[in-house]
Symmetry: D2
Subunit: 303 residues, 4 copies
């Protein structure tokens, strides 16, 4: 089968599925998403884009934004970032605070909330939130080669109104001097970055800079691309990262909006969207879809 | 440079190093190892073997044995293994017991001690320890195509005499009904498996079945090879697994004897030995050596 | 009402109760105890003994034995005991191992299992288990002024056969060098001490040495009596100690056999027995009974 | 010796001491306190007040205020308070957040910061912060029979400016719906309550309502007095509560300003002040002073 045929087949198989997990309910904008949505897109190293289902419908990328902010932050301050964030899987939930206490305010990795808040704090540096967000959006638009990517302000406001857990994390980081701005400022930026909306097509295109192949957008060095892929495979699915690596065999980063960005090094970037989540906060059918795709395409980083 | 030249150069660079970490001291047999030992070997998919330094000197493979027992156990009982062991990084030390309490006796993964003890328990099944160990040794000898691989009984006895932490783990597992044999029996087998001795050459050769390339020994299915590689990259270096993936970009499994087995999917198996350890229990110079080798060979699973 | 009338009234109120909690089920000897048993006895500083219900029926004192071994150990090695055991409530279950890992093998207090195992290890010193147990039994017989107190060997053997959690604790302590004997030896003694059987009458009488009043058996110094009472009030009911202090207002020590020993300093020793337990492992009706007794007698250490 | 002579003797012994612990440094107002300050006062049930040293100098009572807010809150909503706060020692530091995560937002007891913030939230109910603080101050003034007790606004502002750990706790509580007001509002009140200043004389007098003796101010029921004393003895010194009960044998509550309020049920209220703290955040010499006082007066709740 061709890629397109495989995508269509996966789409057909997912359409009638009833067991779709639960959509995130902590903000009305996510709670009201139609759980039956399903989109899938693949951008290949040879410049093609394939898609199926709702691949053109924008959704809230949420934590997938952490891949882009990490790329920006590494570009800005390089390895000194690792003085403020670790590189190890956490063994705990994405919004857990207990390990942060035990490890004196150094988040385990940049993909759990605490670590991502520190990364956002780095991006802010001496910029205003508006400037930092503009820089981030421009980074993503350039990567996707698409100017039509925006932040959903209503989502950002809702995140802020209900984000007590993140405020707790930010204040906690600050109490350990691992936040250089006031929690309000960093979190204001963080909530907006999570509220970026993209379609699967846009996200797959935006992920091409992580493929490490000739002709792909070059936004960070080849070494840094490899390292972000390494972090995605060990930490990209919170406390289900090991399971994702085991089943799918590819680096990926999920968001509670139901999206997953998956990289096939040297070959392709994949974006999937199905809003129903597992208990760990990852897209249920999205994971199955990329597992099926990887199997049929024989894509795996493990030989 | 050729592979051989690169190995020689790495060997030369490592020889004068003073900062070698500390050898494991919990048993006399490991404590007395000369910290200046250094071996490196590469077995490639095209059937060549390259080596440098003490690559022919046998050392205690310790936790690297967990890769072989896991392969055996998956062959025996397949995916039902995952009812008794998880697949997630632990976020804790290799011999930690606290997560085991919080997670009701299900070890986080097969590469921390608790998980590996469960895997050994699976291999025992209805065999005697002697039979199970014979099966394991035969598996490894077949993989390495070398009959000259043995267990060091003195090491096994020392492990048993000082293994109170492992006895605690085994009894704890048993209290959760996640150990089918008496702790003494399972641990007796476990201590012997850790006491297997191999040289870097032998270990690199024994690792070829994980390369997933034509002509390599086929001991488990292609899918299972990928999955073991996935577990190695997310969990193979205890609470430094994320760091190893970040720096080296390849699946690997370390042992407190100072050895590391590293897989370059589709390309090669690498074994390194330097007995000095980091605080996390991984070979200090061994990690640096494979990082250097991967960089110079441009080996990475991440593109 | 007189004490005797109050005891009788409490007995009458408890008899028809259906919500009695669950008896301990980890060994057959405890699992087969009739949950409707209820005994209550009070030994007062003026030499009287009052009782109601099954106050003459022997039951397994289990962890209440920890009060007697602690008294013995403090008599033997005094304050140096506190180099090996803490004096703080644990905030965790009685058989938890995780705090032990985090606090490097020093149990939080002598009344959780890990701490009690260390205390037993102290009592063993250079004695044989048989000698140490004889010393303990003699201590208790002298305190109760009753030679008719024995160890139930069948219970001790059952404890040993199912005591994997305690074996885990003992090996863990040993791995931190906080156990001077082999786990088998210390635990053999520990399981026997837990298997001592006493009736409520015997237990109330045996508790008189903790009343600190003239005419009571003097087995340890007045200061040590106070300190053991302090430990009982802060740590005597595992992770429900705060609740017991709040509701009853008196020092007490419970056992999974369903017994509780309660001290009214200067006034009386109380023993209650009702085999049904709360989730925390304390006697459900026993706690209610002593709460009712304390209220009606206006007994409280808090004014 | 008379009480007065004992107080004078303790004062004399403490004066030359060099090992005084460290004053709290997280706000300038506490950091600048003279570590050599020492005050001691006793208010007895027969209406006398004795004092020594700096017993007339006001200091920041900090967490001792939690005793007064708990008394107020129990008066307001009674036992329903315990649906929002536990009654168990925490086994962790006063400002720890990890147990709060594991126990779903229910603080372990009202004397750790998280629990005290919930208590303050209760006191606020539908009052404004100004009204709630006025009620609290009036409660304390009535208890001490002294109108000259005030809040130090500069301390409250400093607490707020540096109180990121408490903000983290409050947001965390809010994320579990265990905070009914905005964190800013509850914490604003909390920081002011901690900034109340009293002398040892005033504090000893204010503590008389917890003595449970005729003629003492009656602010809450006799049962509630006993229960607050129970909470003080099991939880009043954070993770050193067991040690305080063991050494001193009396209910007490400490504050990082270096003060301790100690109750001798039926007999007296004691206040001590020495600003140098132990690692657990309790007054070093203050603890020793009340231990010495209790020993010489033969005061103990344990017979």
């Amino acid at each position: 089968m061709s890629i397109q045929e495989i995508l269509d087949q996966i789409h057909r198989e997912m359409l009638p599925r009833r067991d779709r997990g639960e959509v995130a309910t902590y903000i009305p904008e996510l709670a009201s998403i139609d759980v039956s949505r399903f989109g899938l897109a693949v951008a290949t190293a040879d410049g093609q884009v394939y898609s199926a289902g709702d691949a053109g419908v924008p959704f809230s990328i949420q934590s997938i934004s952490k891949v882009f902010t990490l790329s920006l932050a590494l570009g800005k301050i390089g390895n000194s970032l690792w003085e403020r964030v670790g590189r190890e899987p956490s063994g705990n939930a994405f919004n857990s605070i207990l390990q942060l206490e035990r490890e004196f305010g150094i988040p385990r990795n940049p993909f759990i909330n605490a670590g991502a808040i520190v990364v956002t704090d780095v991006i802010l540096a001496s910029s205003s939130p508006a400037e930092a967000l503009a820089e981030l959006i421009n980074f993503i638009r350039y990567a996707a080669d698409d100017a039509n990517i925006y932040i959903n302000d209503a989502v950002a406001l809702s995140e802020k109104a209900t984000g007590h857990r993140n405020f707790a994390l930010a204040h906690f980081l600050r109490s350990f001097n691992n936040l250089t701005h006031e929690p309000d400022l960093t979190l204001g930026t963080y909530f907006h970055q999570c509220a970026i909306e993209m379609s699967c097509r846009q996200l797959a295109l935006a992920g091409r800079f992580l493929i490490n192949a000739p002709g792909m957008p070059r936004l960070i060095s080849r070494d840094q691309v490899r390292r972000i892929n390494a972090l995605m495979i060990t930490c990209g699915h919170y406390d289900a990262s090991g399971d994702f690596a085991y089943k799918v065999g590819l680096p990926g980063k999920s968001g509670v909006g139901g999206g997953i960005l998956v990289i096939v090094p040297g070959t392709a970037a994949v974006a999937v969207w199905s809003p129903g989540l597992t208990a760990q906060g990852n897209s249920l059918l999205g994971t199955e879809a990329v597992q099926s795709l990887a199997q049929q395409m024989d894509w795996s980083v493990f030989g």
